[in-house]
Amino acid sequence: MTSVTSVTLEDTEKRIRYLLVKDFKLDSGKLTLDARLDELGVDSIGMAELIFSIEDEFGLKLADAAVQLSTFGEVVQFIDEALANRHATTAPFPKAYALPTAT
């Protein structure tokens, strides 16, 4: 169970990191799990853009929940849980990069 979760979480982090670097030109090296996204320049407007990108990337439809996400890690955690709650394995893989097929 633990190993499955960690692989999924890692995958989620990788994909959201990819979006942040692609859409906001963030320095991947600064994207630690405890990095605050607003301090990296992704403010509330940017978060709205990021949510759209995440929905497209993961095939998710997120409710307009009043959830406060500050750090990169919180976003990853939140999306990972959203994926787990709706059968994450059905989410389409992104076209932009290849994932290991063995998993």
Binding site: K25, G41, I45, A48, D56
Partner: protein
């Protein structure tokens, strides 16, 4: 009323990015108009425009750039250049009162076009969350205010093709009456989306292509004129009270001495000789000068049938027999019609014409028109002819006529 000095010029224009280059292009008749390469250009009857060479990555970090439509990017960069040229640092107290006065006609039409392409063209709801913030008319002025921390009036005027002349004139009023001491005033426009180009085309306002030489397609006051050519860019000036400019030893480009503003209140698109003549007269009155003190005029001169005839008649009405002795320049033949930025660019060209005492040419005036029979300085600049005092005319759909009066520095 206090005197008002122009101490800074900032340009992002189809004729270049600094005052010297733009003046030389206008003086030497080098056109910024060319065939336009955009997606869908083949659907336009005459895909022409005057565009700006602009590398956004040189001016903005990616995170900021994504929030600014092209018209805001132009405005912020032109305002930076104007402030750098003015070389003035504002105290905190001055920033509290410093004002930004911006004219714009179309808003962030590129961003709006892109959003509607997503919504209607692709039938997708994935419009960018930044669409409103990029498209709203007051975004460029807001960004200039944010960048400089100017907390006085931050106003956007949208009166179609007279927008930025109105902005400069309204700034002049605030400065002259002492409500503010320093202002950035001008306009910006980035109207070259397919939707906007098509809308202007079907209104039958755009020039057909000069097949021999597309750069000569805009022909103000020529009998074979066929309309205007859309253009993009921004032009700003720094205005400050004469005393402040003198006290800090600023280089003064010229003096803004008057502003006439009238409204046709007749037809939404057809120009009114009455309204235009009244605006010229109002500008003279506000400047406290007589008609015979005007040495030269930068015309609105769009190259449409209706404007050029009406403007000629309005100038005749105000100046009478002397009208034919006043050099009249229509620089849109070269830089195209920047809509909400046109008045500001032409105000700057008028300043430069005075500074160099050179009447700028009206290019491509190939065929005389009996209804346009004044001295338009056809095809060749005239040294020594701009004199000391000029008017810069801007008229508009909607009927808002704005005329700026300016004077050379002694």
């Amino acid at each position: 009323m206090r005197r008002v000095a122009v101490t800074g010029i900032g340009l992002v224009s189809p004729l270049g990015h600094d005052a010297a280059a733009v003046f030389e292009a206008a003086r030497d008749g080098r056109s910024g108009i060319h065939r336009l390469q955009i997606a869908g250009a083949h659907r336009l009857a005459a895909p022409l425009a005057a565009t700006v060479q602009f590398d956004v990555t040189q001016h903005f970090e990616p995170l900021q750039a994504r929030l600014l439509d092209r018209f805001s990017q132009f405005a912020v960069v032109a305002a930076r250049r104007a402030l750098a040229d003015a070389g003035c640092d504002l105290s905190e107290a001055e920033r509290e009162r410093a004002g930004i006065f911006l004219g714009n006609g179309m808003g962030g039409t590129l961003s709006m076009d892109e959003g509607y392409q997503t919504l209607y063209g692709e039938n997708s709801d994935r419009i960018k969350p930044t669409m409103i913030l990029k498209g709203m008319h007051n975004a460029p002025a807001a960004w200039i205010g944010i960048e400089n921390g100017w907390r006085g009036p931050n106003l956007t005027y949208s009166t179609a093709c007279s927008s930025s002349s109105v902005a400069i004139g309204e700034a002049w009023l605030r400065l002259a009456c002492g409500a503010t001491d320093v202002a950035i005033a001008g306009g910006c426009e980035a109207p070259l989306s397919l939707g906007s180009l098509k809308a202007w085309e079907v209104l039958r306002t755009l020039a057909s292509e000069d097949t021999a030489d597309p750069t000569r397609s805009c022909k103000p006051f020529s009998r074979n004129r066929s309309g205007m050519v859309l253009a993009e860019g921004a032009a700003f000036v720094v205005l400050e009270s004469w005393e402040r400019a003198l006290a800090r030893g600023a280089a003064i480009h010229g003096e803004l001495i008057g502003y006439g503003l009238t409204t046709d209140a007749s037809h939404i698109a057809r120009p009114s000789v009455d309204g235009q003549a009244a605006a010229i007269t109002a500008a003279l009155a506000s400047a406290g000068i007589a008609a015979d003190e005007v040495d030269a005029i930068n015309a609105h001169g769009t190259g449409t049938q209706a404007n050029d005839v009406a403007e000629t008649a309005a100038i005749k009405r105000v100046f009478g027999a002397r009208a034919s002795q006043i050099p009249i320049s229509a620089t849109k033949a070269l830089h195209g019609h920047l809509l909400g930025a046109a008045g500001a660019l032409e105000f700057v060209l008028s300043l430069l014409a005075l500074k160099h005492n050179t009447a700028l040419p009206t290019m491509h005036l190939d065929v005389a028109d009996p209804e346009c029979d004044l001295d338009y300085v056809a095809d060749v600049a005239r040294a020594g002819a701009a004199g000391r005092t000029m008017l810069s005319n801007s008229f508009a759909f909607g009927g808002t006529n704005a005329v700026l009066a300016l004077r050379a520095v002694d």
